[in-house]
Every structure is written in C-alpha cells, then in structure tokens.
C-alpha cells in the first residue's frame, strides 16, 4: 500500500474518533487499527511513523503508542 493511501486511511479513522465525546480518542483509534488492520498493514504504519509520520494526523501519532506492533514485519 502506498504511504499516501495508508496515511489517508489512518487519518480518516482519526477524523471520526476525534469527534467522539471523551478523552480516549487515541485509544479508540488504536483499537480500530488493532481490530481491523492486518499485521503487515500495521508494520507499514509503524515504518511510516518511525520515519517521522509525515502527513499523519496528530491524533494518529498519539494513537501509535497503543497500536500493537506486529510480531513480524
């Protein structure tokens, strides 16, 4: 998946959860990624985050610490 598409998908998820009440938006974003993103997608996600996370919504970056790192990239 291209980094641009991955960034757009992650930001879409963040855009939804940042509108929800409560202060646990990062956890909700992370839970969604953990529940629906296959490990190699999460591996690509972390590769992008580790490279600086260009284009990612700040909420996604805050969520990253709650996202499960895949056992194998």
């Amino acid at each position: 998946m291209s980094p641009e598409k991955l960034v757009m998908m992650a930001n879409q998820i963040a855009t939804f959860f940042k509108t929800q009440p409560g202060d646990d938006a990062p956890q909700k974003v992370a839970a969604h990624l953990n529940d629906f993103w296959e490990p190699r997608m999460r591996a690509q996600f972390f590769a992008h985050v580790d490279a600086g996370g260009e284009g990612l919504d700040p909420l996604v970056l805050r969520a990253a610490e709650h996202v499960k790192r895949p056992a194998t990239a």
């Binding site: 998946m1 998908m9 296959e38």
Partner: protein, 977 residues
C-alpha cells in the same frame, strides 16, 4: 444423504383457497352440514375450502381480493334471498350454507356454457392442457354440451367456424377474417398473451395492481368487446409498462397468459421448493420440472419472504444455468498469457493445492487468501472461510459484502449490538411512515418493493432521500410525501439535519430513550446535534436539500406513527458509509422506532446471501457469528472443533489483499463465485493486483473477468444444482434444494472440500446438513438451526436457539442486543473526492430491474432485451451544455480512468449528477470509480466520483485493449486424448 424434500405439512398445502386469509375473531357456521370455524372476514368460499369443500370458481384466487364477476361460485344461504357469490360473501355466526343444490348447479352449468361458447375447444393441443382451471371447472360443473350456435366470437381467426387457430381444420382458407380475433402477442421473451383464450376474469389485471403494483394492464372495451390490454391499444406487452414479474401469468386460469417454456416443453411433472439466487429478498420458488429439465420457476405461495410473488429475474432469468458459455471442465495454466488447458478434477486440484502450498513455503503463511461468495450457500461460505483459517492458517478471508454492506455490520453493531436488520418483511404492513434512503427497491429488491408499494397505496407516508427521482418518488398510485434530492456524498449531513429538527423541535421520544438507550450518551449526542450548524437551513447549501422540505420530512417521520427506515448501498458505499448507518440508527432510536412491528432499521441486502456470508465469518476479523478473532474463548470453540490453531490477528480485506499483491506480499487467491475485476472499484488497480499474484483460482460458472487473470478454473454449480441454505435481508434462513445433479459433477461445497483435502485437510462432510450442524455447534445465533427444523417450519430467522426455538422475526424487542442502545455522534466529513473544473459532475452507480450485479447470470438470459448495454443517465441541462443528445456515444472520465458508453438524457437525474450501471463488462464502469473508501470498513465509495462527460466516437483505447486481453485470456486448448 438426503433426497429432495418438499415440506408436506398441512400448512404448506398448495390448494387455492379462493380468497385471501383473514385474522379476525372466530366465526362458526355450517357448510353442507359441516361445522366450520374461521376468522371473521373470511369469505364463504374460503370457509368451504377450509372444510375441504371446493366451490367452483374462475375469477377468484387466494392471492387476490374477491371480485365476484364469474358467478360460478354461487351458493344458497338459508334465510337469504338469491344465490350470492361465495367469494364476496363474508361469513357470520350461525350462517347455514349449501354449496350444492339443483338451483346452483343449473346456474353454474349455464355460466360455464356461456364461457365455453366463446372459447376455442382445442384442449388437446392447448399449452395449458392439464393445467387449466376452465377445463377443470367445465368438468366440475358437469358441462356435457353447448347449446349456442357458432356466431360472433374472439377465438376463430376466420368466420368459418368455431375452430381455433391451432386446429388444422381452421387453416383452410375459407371465410373472411374475424374482426374480433386478435393474434397472439409474443413480444415478451418469456410468456405469450393469447387473447383468443381470454375469459376476461380480470385476474391478470388485479394481480398487476394488487400484487405487483405496476398497473400496466387494464380491461379495454365493454361487454362483448372487453379485452385485456397492456397499456394503450398501440402497446404490446414488451413496449408497455409491464415489468415481466409474472404475476399475471401465475394468476391466469387459462392459457391466455402462458410461459413460453411450458408451451414448448409441456406441463411439469414434479417440483422442488427452493430459494432464488438473485437479490437479498430471498424468494421461495417451486422449480417445476420434467425429469431433470427445468420447465419453469413459480413463486411458492408459502414463501415467507415473497408471499407468492416474484420478479423478472427469479421468475424467468434462469436460462444461464444451461448457457453454452458455462464451463464444465476444470482448467489450468502456468501463466495467464497461455491458453487454458482442460484437465480432470484431480489434476486441477493437485495443481491448485501444489501452487498454493508452494506460495506459502516461498512467501509465508499469510501470502494467500480467499474470497467467499454471497451467491453461494451458507454452508459453502462457511467452508471457504474455514479453508483460510484451518488449512491456510491465516484470516485472509473476505467477501463481497466488503464492497456493499460492511458499513451496516459495523454501524449497527456499534449502535444496536448486532450486524443485521431489525425486522421481517411483513413488518412493512404495519408501518405508517417509510424512509427510503439510498435504495431503489422497485429495481433492486422488486418483490419487497411491491409489498412496500401496497402499503403506500393503503395510506402509509413516504420520504425518499436520493439524488435521483427513483420510481417510488412518483409512479402509478404512489407519490412520495417528501423527496430530498441530496447531493451525492452528503448523507451524513442530511441524516443529521433530520435528527437536528427532531431534537430541537422536541419531537424525540424521551421516554423510549430513557428506557432503552444510554441516557448520558444521548445527552452528549443531543447537545452535538442541536448545534445550529446541523440545521436544515445551515446545511442546505451543502446538501442541496431545501430546508423547509427537510424540516417537513423530519416532522412527518417523528410524528407519523410507526416509522421504518429502509436503506441500501446509496448509504453504505461512501467514505462515511458507517457514519451514515450510525446516523440512521440514531434516527430510529430518537423516535422510538426499534423493537416492535412496523418500525426498525432495514438494510436491503444486494445479493441473495450477503447476510449469510457475513454471518458465516467471511470477514477477516470475525469468526462465524460476528465474534472477533482476538477473543480467545471464541477461538477455542473453533480450535477444538477444527483441531487447529487459529491466528488471533485480523486478516486482509479485499482492497488490502490487492494492495499487498501489488506490494508483492500476497500471492495466491481462491475466489469463489465473485468477479472482483468487474465489481470492485478502480479496475486498473484490481487488475494490477490480480496480475501480480502467482496463483489465482477462480471457482465460477463462467470465465468471468477475474478469470482473465486466473491460473486455475474450477467449474461451479448453480443454485439449482446443490443443497444448502441462504439467509436473506430479514435474517431468514431458507433452504436451497438440489433440483438437478451438478452439471460439472460437484456442488461448490464439495469442490472446496476437495481443495482443502488436496492441501492436507481431512474433511469428510457428506451433505451440507452436516456443515450446518457444525455451524449450529459453534455459533450461538444458529444453535437451533437444523435441516429438520427448516423442513418443519419452512424457514427461520436467526437468532434461532434454545431461547428462540422458532427464530426471531423482530430484533431488540425487550431491549437492544448490546444492552442499552448507543447514540453515536455523527460529524459530517466531506469526501476527498472533489469536483472541479476538470471533473465537474458527480457520478453515482447502481443497478436496474432486469440485470443483476455484474450481469454474469442475467446477461446470459433474455433479460438483456430490456438492458443490453450500460448507459449514462444525464440531466437535460448537463447534456445540453455539452451538446449531447439521447443515444450518443459519450466519454466518461474520472481521475482513475475513462470509458465510453451511450447517453440517456433523463430528468430523473439532478443537475450535476450522472448515473450508470455496472452490469456489462464492455463498459467496465468501475474503471471510473476511485479507491476512496469508508473510514471504518474500506467499503468503496462507488457513489461519489467526480467525472467529466464529453462527446465520443465509440469505445476508448482502453476498452479495446481490455477486450483484446480478455479474448486472448479465454482461449481454451482442447482436452488431451
């Protein structure tokens, strides 16, 4: 192994009771000395039939309200003068009826004599011979002679005598032409109308009105000149408004309206009750056969989804099963550049298994996956996802619901706690206000559309939210009270504006919300939705919906009584598809419209088994029963049953599979009964993904578009060739029964089992009932489902278990499945797909009545007479500024690609919006659509693509290249000797 079984319970009696059933208080009467008890409102005719006493009839049938025209059903009632028609006379307590007396016998014989005096006596050569009610009634009343001399009549082509056209003696060139004689209308591809055999009983006209709701037929003329007419005198059946549903043919008591297949093959000699394989209504049909030759499909009167009705697809479009394009031998090839090579099953399966295992060894366990089919049975779908999880060892399973109703699963799961519609179809009969949003039931779910129209004619109000003037907005005796023609992509804004009006005008059902929903979440939602920015006045510039109209619609829905929402892919196939589903759930909860008959949230499923394929664990994150794979307890259930370890990580969704294929990490796919190259968005991306795979196994009836990139082709079986179950849009589990043996030797579930075993599994199912037993063992909502239960009850709606042994017609009756209903804030977010100077119009796609999905089935039937190519509907203004006229070739271009097709100028469209279908691979409408998708589920945004339309000379270079590649790919070498 079980043989064919047709339910034979008394409640499934095929007998025509003459008039419809009623549900009033018990009434006691005596008929021919027998004590009879029936509900108040029942006709004397039906009461007699209930007692096993058949009263002769011609114009009455139990699918239609009584008409009282034929006078054959007259009876005598003690204390009442004359001989009333039993069909139009309701029972009352203490009534004493005599169905047989010299007086009524004489009347009936006289009536029959009059009928026969203007009817050809060609029974032996008539296509209805043996299946003709006129013939039966002549026998029943003891008609032995006919006293009237030959005179003016409708049946004889010439004035030479009383011989019919099919009688050779009538072919002598004598006499002048009979001005009353009308030739047979053969314009419809599936049935004929022979006026010479018509007895003007009105059953066809009434069926068209009462059952189908099209009002295409009428009786023209008066007295002796009365004739059935389709439309005006200039119309034949094909050019009329007739939608070819078959209701008139079914209602006709003679050979006047007759299936061509019966005329050609003769009357059927046996029948098997099964379930239609087209849309999500899931109609029950009797497949009527001679031996293993299908003669016709007749809607089954006891089918609880369709109540004896049908549409042109289920009733007539089954010819694809015998189409010469069907591939009946397995085929393999090493490269997609090579021609196909026909091989035996064993070689094909060994080849496929070796390739798939080789890919896993080379690229890893997760390098292969499956796509299950919503056109296949629950049992087949269950096995395909099991193949991924138990044999491939990963969760790379997805289904076509990804591209249609996956947001329904997510949205309703989050709000109500279960991923399904809340009602049964019968519920609509108790609805007072219907919202139809992003759905076109009269085209895509026609049998349910007819039931909805019937309720609308009976007084329910209708709100249509759709960019197009769909037929429900205005058609015969139907007019929407409010049509909100929103701009594509603004569903969330419109649904939120409706909620804003309801909350701010104090129309919310607070008592319901306090009792049934999470009150704190409601308060947060109410605060959010009450903000002025969600008001109709603030959003109208964005949505294009006039504020006053939207306010009026909101008030109608909130105050009009039982409110039900029906929606389709116009809701789900957006970047905010899941958010709109949540918004719809919010609307229903706000107005207290969940948990009783007549209300609810009702997703209209596209394909026949979308609901079932989702139920069966087709999604990569869920095991059967919508339970996430991360749950250890859930995995344990399947690990113990299957004897394998199950991966706790979610697998790849279809778009992710294609992305991974382009990335080089996904290399093999087993695709059963789907054509992702034609149906999925951004065709160029799909083809790139498929081309990057090293083993694509297509298991299908035909060499579809996806097969252009396949290395293994496994011949599929039609729904007529296998046992199993489908689950329709109302969660109804219906039996599919083997009508004929599989033409390619194996049913689809057997092929999946053979492939699994070739890859080292040790599956040993001998019948789909054993697969259902495993589903019931592992999936709580199916715990009470067995084939025996289905035979006994006809069908059941899940959940069907110890708590609900008869199934669950209505969900959330005593509370929501998740506990408290959950209001979710639904912020509108504009799609990334933007119009601009280069692409100023918005394209939305959909389907039409006569074709189905990618058209693989319906294009191979005579249904193409109604739609032989995809066309681009465009508003007259948009056409005029581009210099386009109706029928011209136009170029349709988006940021993803371009194609050419003919224009159809239509004021059904809103200015700025164009529409096309995706039924024909020559057009490949999905080369235009983008890969933008729903934020939660990756469901593609088919409904919003920025496009430009301009004049064209014909097919684009891409289309020509595509067709050339497809032709090369479909070459087949003859089998080795």
């Amino acid at each position: 192994m079980k043989d064919f079984i047709i339910p034979n319970d008394k409640s499934f009696d095929e007998k025509d009771m003459g008039t419809p059933a009623r549900t009033g208080k018990p009434v006691h009467l005596t008929i021919d000395g027998a004590e009879v008890t029936v509900p108040a409102g029942t006709s004397v005719m039906r009461a007699a039939a209930e007692a096993g006493l058949d009263i002769p009839k011609l114009c009455a049938t139990d699918s239609l309200e009584a008409f009282g025209s034929c006078r054959l059903c007259v009876v005598e009632i003690e204390g009442r003068r004359g001989t009333p028609a039993s069909c139009t006379t309701p029972v009352h307590d203490g009534m004493v009826v005599h169905t047989q007396s010299d007086k009524v016998r004489k009347i009936r014989k006289g009536v029959m004599e009059l009928y026969i005096s203007d009817h050809p006596l060609d029974c032996l050569t008539c296509s209805a011979n043996g299946d003709c009610e006129l013939q039966d009634m002549a026998g029943a009343v003891g008609l032995r002679d006919m006293r009237y001399e030959t005179g003016e009549n409708h049946y004889s082509p010439s004035l030479a005598g009383m011989l019919s056209k099919s009688d050779r003696r009538a072919q002598a060139p004598e006499g002048e032409a009979n001005p009353q004689y009308l030739p047979c209308d053969e314009s419809n591809p599936y049935f004929t109308y022979d006026p010479s055999k018509c007895i003007v009983c009105n059953r066809c006209v009434r069926a068209c009105e009462e059952v189908q709701g099209t009002f295409a037929l009428t009786i023209e003329g008066r007295g002796f000149d009365s004739r059935v007419s389709a439309g005006t005198g200039l119309d034949d059946f094909l050019s009329s408004d007739c939608v070819s549903c078959g209701a008139c043919v079914q209602a006709c008591p003679t050979a006047t309206l007759q299936e061509k297949s019966v005329a050609e093959m003769g009357t059927p000699t046996r029948s098997v009750v099964t379930t239609c394989a087209y849309c999500g209504v899931g109609c029950s049909f009797k497949a009527e056969l001679q031996g293993d030759q299908l003669v016709r499909m007749v809607p089954w009167k006891h089918g609880k989804a369709n109540r004896g009705h049908s549409c042109v697809k289920g009733r007539f479009a089954y010819g694809y099963a015998d189409h010469p394009d069907r591939i009946l031998s397995p085929m393999i090839r090493d490269s997609i550049d090579e021609p196909w090579r026909e091989v035996g099953w064993q070689e094909a399966l060994s080849f496929a298994a070796g390739k798939m295992r080789g890919l896993q060894e080379k690229y890893g366990q997760k390098s292969i996956g499956v796509i299950t089919s919503s056109r296949c049975t629950n049992e087949e779908t269950y096995l395909v996802q099991k193949l991924a999880r138990a044999v491939f060892g990963n969760n790379n399973t997805d289904t076509c619901a990804r591209v249609c109703h996956s947001p329904t699963g997510y949205g309703l799961g989050q709000t109500f706690g279960t991923s399904a519609g809340t009602q049964d179809f019968d519920s609509v009969e108790q609805t007072d206000v219907i919202i139809v949003i992003g759905a076109n039931p009269t085209d895509a779910h026609p049998v349910f559309g007819s039931r909805m129209k019937k309720r609308l004619r009976d007084g329910a109000k209708l709100i249509v939210i759709d960019p197009r003037k769909i037929d429900l907005v205005k058609s015969a005796h139907i007019a929407a009270n409010h049509h909100l023609p929103l701009r594509p992509g603004t569903n969330v804004a419109v649904v939120s504006a409706l909620a804003h009006v309801i909350v701010t005008e104090g129309l919310a059902d607070e008592a319901y919300i306090r009792e049934r929903c999470d009150w704190d979440e409601y308060l947060a939602y109410a605060e959010f939705i009450s903000e002025d920015r969600h008001s109709p006045e603030e959003t109208q510039a964005l949505t294009g919906v006039p504020a006053e109209e939207l306010r009026a619609a909101a008030r109608t829905f909130a105050t009009g009584g039982n409110g039900a929402i029906y929606y389709g892919l116009g809701v789900t196939e957006h970047s905010q598809g899941s958010t709109t589903v949540m918004g719809i759930a919010n609307l229903a909860m706000l107005t207290g419209n969940v948990g009783r008959p007549g209300v609810g949230v009702n997703p209209l499923r596209g394909q026949n088994n979308v609901q079932g394929s989702c139920d069966m664990g087709s999604f990569p994150h869920e095991l059967p029963g919508y339970r996430h794979v991360k749950g250890e307890e859930v995995r344990d259930i399947f690990q113990k049953t299957w004897g394998v370890e199950i991966d706790p990580e979610p697998g790849l969704r279809i778009p992710n599979m294609l992305d991974a294929a382009v990335d080089g990490t996904f290399k093999g796919l087993y695709c059963q009964g789907e054509d992702i190259l034609q149906s999925d968005p951004d065709t160029k991306h799909v083809s790139a993904g498929l081309a990057a795979m090293e083993c694509v196994i297509v298991h299908d009836l035909f060499l579809n578009e996806t097969a252009n990139y396949a290395h293994v082709f496994l011949p599929g079986s039609t729904f007529l060739e296998k046992d199993g179950t489908f689950t329709n849009a109302e969660r109804r589990i219906n039996r599919v029964r083997e009508v004929m043996a599989p033409k390619a030797d194996y049913a689809d579930w057997e092929v999946t089992q053979l492939l699994a075993n070739a890859m080292g599994a040790n599956w040993s199912y001998t019948h789909p009932s054993e697969i259902m037993a495993e589903i019931a063992l592992t999936t709580p909502s199916f715990a009470g489902v067995t084939y025996d239960v289905l035979e006994e009850k006809g069908s059941v709606q899940w959940p069907c278990n110890e708590e609900h042994p008869d199934g669950t017609p209505l969900m959330h009756v005593d509370g929501f499945v998740r506990g408290k209903g959950r209001f979710i804030v639904t912020e509108y977010v504009a799609t990334e797909e933007k119009t601009g100077p280069r692409f100023p119009l918005l394209l939305t796609t959909g389907r039409i009545l006569s074709q189905y999905n990618v058209g693989a089935q319906t294009r191979r039937t005579d249904n193409s007479i109604w739609h032989d190519e995809d066309v681009l509907e465009i508003h007259p203004h948009d056409a005029e500024v581009r210099g386009l006229t109706d029928g011209q070739w136009v170029r349709l271009a988006s940021r993803s690609g371009e194609t050419s097709l003919r224009a159809k100028v239509s004021d059904r469209m809103s200015p700025g919006v164009v529409y096309t279908t995706f039924h024909h691979p020559d057009t490949q409408a999905n080369v235009i659509t983008t890969d933008f998708s729903d934020w939660a589920t990756n469901c593609p945004e088919y409904k919003v693509t920025a496009v430009q339309v301009s004049l064209s000379n014909g097919p684009t270079d891409w289309q020509e290249e595509y067709n050339a590649q497809a032709e090369r790919s479909r070459r087949i070498l003859p089998a080795a000797e």
